[in-house]
Symmetry: C2
Subunit: 366 residues, 2 copies
């Protein structure tokens, strides 16, 4: 029988501090914006706090979704993928999308990059007292449309309201489940020397779209967020190349962060070619003015794949036939050294290290 | 091929308002605390906004979890239950528990009342800049302990950070999945005249514990939250009585709200006997001083079941052998009239209507 809290012995207070040795290894004493950035501080928080505390191999895999064992499915040769994301983007609406599309696409994409077909989403809303019902309705409407277009159903939900000032307008959490029907072995640990690095199009659009929407730039140009679901593109990619080695969507922390995770987990070097990386002119311009690097900007509809060299061209050709992959390109390759690092051959003929983001480039980007 | 947002036609702006006829039926123009109370305003928001917009039969069932069809499982005779809840309780720590236990037990319980064995949870954290790592560590530690005691694994997660003042310390979302292995038919629509109403113990503890922890009462007594996982108790109940008709945990809005939902969905009357409802003396005292009604106070480890009369005694006997059901009791019965209503025979010999909560009794209770 499960031990419940009612079994607590007399004098065994619920306020006694439980053992938290893992806490001692956290260098920071307070949460900073960097802990949400997608970079090193966030990784430390996740590794040293959550993964240590919740201590199980599925979480410790540190993928963007858990592939969970269910007896009945195993017998069918399928697996269940499960993921969650909270969305706190500011502003709620921006060119190309809103928190509603992000909440649907982001969770779909975390499922898709495991090779899963997304099926069902949950929707947990935290609402600030005083939020206009019209604003909430527009967000919900965007979620409805995004879910319908992607073929997923929002089947369960929860609504909480907090006092004015205790939250900023509205936050959304979506969790998602999907079925992996193919025999895939996608993992951050599978990059091999000789493999090729692919992305499905222009990077950095979402990050710049949010900056422009916040009026933090006095620029005339409009850049739209790239928010889009990627599961159908991934389906196509897996048809052409069932043996995709690594696959992840490049959200917070951008392409640079995903590639650093691949390089570290696989113990390989990733060599990028700057001239091959697709970046919209307007995004490049904004980055130059602001000293931002498109490699670190968030995307909401871009993935990075590492695939066997012999299939790279056919997979890119196939991706280019898909609306979500028109500007797909080979952007680099995997080598043996320098182990664990990401390097880039710059347009000026040099070679630079593309490190993991340490601080916080842009808060509340998703 | 899925239509993606990239297919948008030129001139088809992403800022055009999508159709939201359902919005016109919302009477309120702004979110109030009542929309999070568990009562009528929240139900209207859910029915007229979320259920209309997300439009699918699983969500429209308005249960606390969705039972989703998965081909491989159906062939095994099992089903998957999926649920989510966000937690915004204030304060984070209180006698008997914390937001950490609530986040684990609450989601376990939403699965349990469908007859599911909870297996996997997700954890989405929204953190306020400046939160102490020690506080976060204590919450995570409580989640770890609660999950371990209940036999569930937290397998996937997400962390967002917002600026100081954009959230109140920390909010947690957990989603959960579980497997329904038995042939159960639990539904809010299955209460029949002649059935008996059961609860597993003292009601109102959690609500009063939070009030005391907020120092809103100048009372000496300490009441501990009843936060506890209920899946093992439900397992036992289903062993004794596989044909439980209705089953729900009585959280926000309390026992009164759950029973009103059963009465409305089943088109029956529920008659309670006040003297039979277990309420702790300290809770009764606090309620008398403050004019609160224990029937409307939140619980975090109490369920309400409606079962066939012939099995009521044996199910209660079995429940009393379980640590989470020691004070189980029959508290009322189902009759035909007045259709859709909940009535209570008071200790003074009268009969009163136990209506749904309209306003907001206690904000941020979970």
């Amino acid at each position: 029988m499960t031990r419940t809290l009612l079994d607590r012995k007399p004098g065994e207070s619920s306020e006694a501090k439980p053992p938290t040795q893992w806490l001692d290894r956290m260098r920071d004493k307070h949460i900073t914006m960097a802990h949400g950035s997608g970079g090193k501080a966030m990784r430390e928080l996740i590794e040293r706090l959550f993964v240590e505390a919740f201590d199980n191999p599925l979480l410790a895999a540190m993928e963007d979704q858990a592939v969970v064992p269910l007896e009945g499915l195993r017998q069918q040769g399928t697996k269940l993928a499960f993921t969650t994301d909270s969305y706190v983007v500011n502003p709620l609406f921006f060119p190309g999308g809103s928190i509603g599309e992000l909440a649907v696409h982001g969770t779909i994409n975390d499922l898709a990059v495991s090779g899963a077909t997304p099926l069902f989403l949950s929707c947990g809303m935290i609402l600030e007292e005083g939020l206009s019902i019209d604003t909430l309705g527009q967000v919900v409407s965007r979620m409805r449309e995004a879910a319908a277009l992607a073929g997923v159903s929002i089947v369960t939900g929860d609504t909480k309201v907090v006092e004015r000032g205790a939250a900023d307008k509205l936050f959304v959490n979506t969790a998602g489940i999907g079925i992996i029907q193919r025999d895939v072995a996608i993992s951050a640990r599978r990059a091999c020397p000789g493999d090729v690095v692919i992305t499905n199009g222009n990077i950095g659009d979402h990050g710049v779209a949010i900056l422009l929407a916040r009026n933090e730039l006095a620029l005339e140009s409009t850049v739209e967020s790239d928010t889009q679901p990627l599961h159908d593109l991934v389906r196509l990619m897996l048809e052409v190349c069932p043996d995709i080695h690594c696959l992840r969507d490049a959200t917070r922390g951008g392409v640079a962060t995903v590639l650093n995770e691949f390089a570290a987990a696989s113990q390989v070097a990733i060599h990028l070619v700057e001239a091959a990386i697709p970046v919209r002119e307007s995004v490049r311009g904004a980055c130059e003015i602001l000293g931002l690097d498109p490699l670190y900007l968030a995307n909401e509809g871009k993935l990075v794949a590492i695939v066997p060299r012999e299939q790279a061209d056919s997979i890119v050709d196939a991706m280019r036939t898909h609306p979500a992959g028109r500007d797909s390109a080979i952007i680099g390759e995997v080598k043996e050294t320098p182990n664990g690092a990401v390097l880039m051959a710059t347009a000026f003929g040099g070679l630079r290290v593309v490190d993991t983001l340490v601080g916080d480039q842009l808060p509340r980007i998703c």
